[in-house]
């Protein structure tokens, strides 16, 4: 197998894994949006909280970072519920612009609280079962254990959440609230509690994702925005509120971030000097921002969305 083929396969595999992780980042955002039509600006900051929670837990107990997943989930759930009752409930009464300001303020608050508590030095999990492990699956193609695990959890969580929504009573109540909150209220569904639940589940999925991410991605207080943008791009691609769409869209975003690598491998193979001089690595995330912009302009209901 030539360098080109193995390079391509490696890129595709890495992009797939990263994509599933990004899908998990976006899952919470799309749940919250689906149920109550509000967008959480502080979504990336929730992820950051999850990352710090995981680090804190594993340093304090001395356990592996994987053991901190339940802890991160609880933190995320509580954070989501608290945000709903402490802030979002009040924002819903005001105009749309108030929701924007409010979650925006939440983003600033979490970001700077993290700065206050942890300082701005990037931190990452240095020890653990997964950290630094990888498997070679032949022809120089490497699978990183950290990403593999995160991608695995992504699939599990997506399946769990869809199952909850489609097959449990609570899930059906949530779906009902999403479809028509007023009607749901008449049917005796406690919509307020359903909203809080959506925030809780949304928070929990994203903090779990954070706890997985911190094995290979350093956390600092400013990290949230990048993930908020990634999550928004993913949700926009998949269609707002569409859970299945978010999963596929996440994978597309993964491939977008690996564009520089694909480009690099291709130009290496072609061997043209001028082309090889162009490196796109500093534009890695630019493609994501651009994707969001373009999709919102041309397909506001998502790549797979049907126009209402």
């Amino acid at each position: 197998m030539g360098a080109f083929t193995s390079g391509m396969i490696q890129s595709i595999v890495s992009a797939l894994l990263m994509g599933m992780v990004f899908a998990l980042v976006a899952l919470g955002l799309t749940i919250i949006f689906g149920v109550m039509n509000i967008v959480n600006f502080a979504h990336g900051e929730f992820l950051m909280v999850g990352m710090y929670a995981c680090l804190l837990f594993s340093t304090m107990t001395g356990l592996d970072t994987l053991a901190s997943l339940p802890f991160a989930a609880i933190v995320g759930f509580l954070l989501g519920v608290m945000c709903y009752y402490g802030l979002v409930k009040y924002l819903l009464r005001g105009p749309m612009i108030a929701q924007l300001f409010g979650t925006f303020g939440l983003m600033l608050l979490l970001r700077n609280l993290a700065l206050l508590i942890f300082g701005s030095e990037p931190r990452i999990a240095h020890h653990g079962i997964l950290v630094g492990r990888s498997f070679v699956i032949g022809h120089g193609i490497v699978l990183e254990a950290t990403k593999l695990t995160a991608a695995g959890f992504s699939i599990i969580l997506f399946l769990t959440v869809s199952w909850i929504l489609n097959h449990t009573k609570v899930g059906k109540a949530l779906t009902a609230t999403a479809l028509n909150a007023e009607a749901a209220r008449y049917m005796g569904i406690p919509t307020e509690r359903m909203n809080a639940l959506a925030w809780g589940i949304g928070g929990a999925t994203v903090t779990i994702c954070g706890a997985l991410l911190v094995n290979f991605w350093p956390v600092d207080p400013n990290i949230g925005l990048l993930f908020t943008m990634i999550a928004f791009a993913t949700v926009a691609l998949g269609g707002f509120g569409n859970i299945k769409g978010a999963f596929y869209a996440g994978i597309i975003i993964g491939f977008l971030i690996y564009i520089p690598t694909f480009w690099d491998t291709t130009t290496m193979a072609i061997g043209d000097k001028a082309l090889r001089g162009i490196h796109l690595f500093s534009f890695k995330y630019t493609f994501v921002y651009l994707a969001y912009f373009l999709i919102m302009v041309f397909r506001p209901h998502g790549l797979f969305g049907i126009k209402e």
């Binding site: 749309m96 929701q99 300001f101 409010g102 500093s282 921002y289 506001p300």
Partner: protein, 333 residues
Amino acid sequence: MEVIRNIFDLSDIPRKDLTVFGIFSLFLLIFPLIPHSSFAMATMIEFLMFSLYGMGWNTIGGYGGQVDLGKAQYAGIGAFTTAVMLIHWNIPFWISAPVGMIFAIIWSFAIGYPLFRMRGHYFAIATIATSLVLLDVFQSWNFVGAAKGLELPLKSMPSLLYLQFRSDTYYYYILLFLFFFGFFYINWFRKSRLGFQLRAIKDNEEVARSLGINVHWCKIKTYAIATSFVAVVGSFHACYNFNIDPEDIMSLDLSILIAMMAMVGGAGSLWGPIIGAAVLIPLKSYLGSWLGGKEGLAGLDLVIYALIIMIIAAFEPRGIWGIVEKARKRGKI
């Protein structure tokens, strides 16, 4: 003549507000004569810059209700135009600033057209996205210095033409001139045809459209006005700091700060951005220097900002000015 009268017409504003503003203007005028530290001067200059930024943002974000979180890209365009023109062709500030403004407006039309097909959150996030794309481009574009940024050459003599002075006082008065210019422009703007159309759009877009207002075009025009304010201050920023790099002038942090001035002070009111800047900038400077310098307290100023914003959003989306007006109404009853 009509226009000029409209510009200076403040008759719809309560007398006591004008008195306060009068006293405040007087204070601004004589501030450099009062003994002050250079830190206080720097804070005042920052206050003036951010009230101007805020005034610009307030047109589209306040009167128009379109929350824009990507204003820093225009500050960047202004600043880089001024810097590039000075470095390559030795062109003075007073020419390069309007040119920068024109570039910024062209760019604002180019992206404003698709941008305003979105609303609310989608719009806000999209403005961030465009701003970050431009930031990434500038960081790799060698002509504008890429990540290194540009350093403005120092002139051997202080010069009004190139806006290079040794004392901050001169910068202060130039900004103060721009400040009053901006203030009266906004005063005219809010009573102009566009201003009224914009408020109709903010209240209800469908109704505005049925009244025959070209909603999309109105928004784009206002966006360009907001842009020109920001671009000019960006050009000034380049001369004042004689060094710019994209990470600094085009960062999201700047966009956020710009939006915050009017949000906190009172979006959609004449005084909003000024009050916002008057409260937030000294808070930021002094908290930053008293607390931020001590290890472990960095970020406290922004935590306070964030709390203010959340409280305002939850209880009075019209900001500090909204609180004042509400109280005033209650007082009348």
